[in-house]
Symmetry: C2
Subunit: 383 residues, 2 copies
């Protein structure tokens, strides 16, 4: 075993292999659009127990995937995005739980998405891929759960957009979620949140290489737009303080050069992040996922009343926010907590004093991890 | 007189006419670059008194100009950007003070800038226009003051980037500034501030129509980039709460349309602001001004010590911040206040509880305007 894959909080789940499941039953989206057939790619860690009561579904946020923990035999540096949280002896302990990560529909890591071939045309879906919602993702995830024979999840968990999916699970399938772990969430985006998404989308759709979403046929990608979208995103994931701590006003060459090229380290960082992202992420997927974020608003279907929207939920809830998160601030998590309390639901809320902004949900923080660990210690995987 | 030009806080300065002054004495920029000759366009309101002691210089921020108050006879709807603050009977009362607005060098409203013809080549400066700093602007403004025979300003005042110029005046020409009014300021940009500027610049410079800054010759403008830059800017000028108050999650057509075109009103607003801006603002000027913001750091020349940097200042200071301003938060103003107090300078500080974010400095707020008014009541225009 590769020592680099170990950390002092426990071992990795090790080398993992994604699996693909093909569905031939049409999925009707909230928009009315229909996907006749589709693939879902997923990974599992740990062992499903005999009564299938120890499954935990981990939902991903904007740019992540089904690759939640471990690494790939042919790509040992490709470590799952929540590997610090999930593994043997880790807060979500794979010695006890069977953990599932799924790449959401519309994604670009193996599940059917805009870059996939539409069997009706033999060409990529591109602009014709239907606009998808959090509700649609949960519907697809439920079909995977059905296939795996999981009637009820010990927990559904996620951060950010992943947390919205956990919330939606608790509303749409109350009887199938024992615990919902909702980290760095909001019950719906604010106007400012939507505004940032809109600028990112405008950067992509006005890139001359976007070609109305059908850039695949042109052999190009809207790289400029994707790059800008990612740069904007990155600013909102970090707190002002964290950026100041990480980069300050440090000059790359030690002096001001009176040009528009990189002078400050933060500029270099953003450009690098943007360039990297444009290499691997599909622009149409970015549009779809930001739109799913914009549209998520469970209260909308309950006359704007979040308490009423959450009345159906039966899960035990752990809601976690981070003090320096200005994208989805603690106030937004408290809206969820209040709505659950209005319904006398079993909810624990923790506001972690962490400096890293929204990104804190992905980082190793002793108090945060101890909290999740002790939560799972109390999850008795039995139906 | 047009009644629309009146408001209940006093009358307008009325129809105004910009003036242009040509300078043939080369200006050496901080970068070492030299501008052999240049024009400055400016406006004045009120009457300069006999001993020339009642002059107030108003410095503009990112996208504003010399057109600070009043309107143009041929464009009565083109009202100065700080018209609510400046006029007869207004907080900065033109019955008492002689107010000057200047379009900064590198601008695009009449002063020499990248779109101006370089007399050496007969073509627009474009990419060859030197990178300019707040210090260079103040040097050019001082030459205009010399020309007008103003030895000492009763006040130099500005908001945001304009406030940085007021601060720089107090450092570079302490004997020429009786009062410095520093509104919604920061003593230097944070890494997050620079990051937002960098994304805006990248949007412009990666627009295929940018042509390395020499788009004038191609008969195009980097409209896409300018549009994005403005959209990003707008998000940072408003508070999350102000955006929520103004737009909420209101849907333009009353329903979600499952597309990437405008659904939410905030999207429509941002696109409109971006489109409008791209019509009138020069992209190279945007690059120059954001860079001037990035580079401003008076403490850098004093070993990083802002108190030492401000030791030379002699002005009386009024520093004003706004609670909901997250671009230049009150904390940043307090850094300036602390540095002034370290030097036992005469400084008043007000933190206005206003919901509008950074834009608050431009808006009519009773407490804010009363404060500025009473400050000027105590400015005795005498040498």
């Amino acid at each position: 075993m590769n020592n680099a894959r170990k950390d002092n909080k426990g071992n990795s789940v090790g080398a993992v292999t994604p699996q693909t499941l093909h569905f031939d039953i049409p999925l009707v989206f909230r928009s009315g659009a229909v996907l006749e057939c589709y693939d879902l790619v997923y990974e599992t860690y740990g062992t499903l127990n005999a009564d299938k009561s120890n499954a935990v579904l981990v939902c991903h946020a904007l740019n992540a995937s089904h690759h939640v923990a471990g690494w790939y035999a042919d790509a040992p540096d490709n470590i799952g995005w929540w590997d610090n949280m999930i593994g043997p002896g880790k807060p979500l302990d794979t010695n006890r739980f069977f953990v599932i990560g799924i790449n959401n529909l519309g994604g670009c890591f193996g599940s059917t998405g805009p870059a996939s071939i539409d069997p009706r045309t033999g060409k990529p879906y591109g602009s014709t891929f239907p606009v998808i919602t959090v509700e649609d993702w949960v519907a697809a995830q439920a079909r995977l759960a059905d296939h795996l024979g999981i009637r009820r999840f010990a927990a559904v968990m996620g951060g950010s957009l992943g947390a919205m999916q956990a919330l939606q699970w608790s509303i749409a399938h109350p009887e199938r979620v024992a615990n919902a772990i909702v980290v760095a969430a909001a019950p719906k985006l604010s106007a400012q949140n939507i505004a940032f998404n809109e600028v990112a989308r405008q950067a992509i759709t006005t890139d001359p290489d976007f070609h109305g979403g059908d850039y695949y046929a042109h052999g190009v990608i809207p790289r400029r737009g994707l790059r800008l979208a990612r740069m904007i995103g990155h600013i909102t994931y970090l707190s002002d303080d964290a950026m100041m701590e990480k980069f300050g006003r440090t000059l790359q060459s030690g002096k001001v050069n009176y040009h528009f090229d990189v002078d400050f380290e933060v500029e270099s960082y953003l450009r690098h992040q943007g360039d990297k992202f444009a290499e691997y992420f599909d622009a149409n997927t970015y549009l779809l996922i930001t739109r799913a974020l914009d549209y998520f608003d469970p209260a909308l279907h309950a006359g704007g009343d979040l308490s009423q929207a959450l009345a159906a939920a039966q899960a035990k809830f752990l809601v976690v926010s981070f003090t320096s998160d200005w994208r989805f601030s603690p106030e937004r998590s408290r809206e969820i907590v209040k709505a659950l309390l209005d319904n006398r639901r079993d909810v624990s809320y923790a506001e972690i004093d962490a400096p890293h902004g929204h990104d804190a949900f992905l980082l190793e923080d002793a108090r945060y991890h101890a909290l999740v660990r002790s939560w799972f210690d109390n999850v008795h995987a039995a139906l």
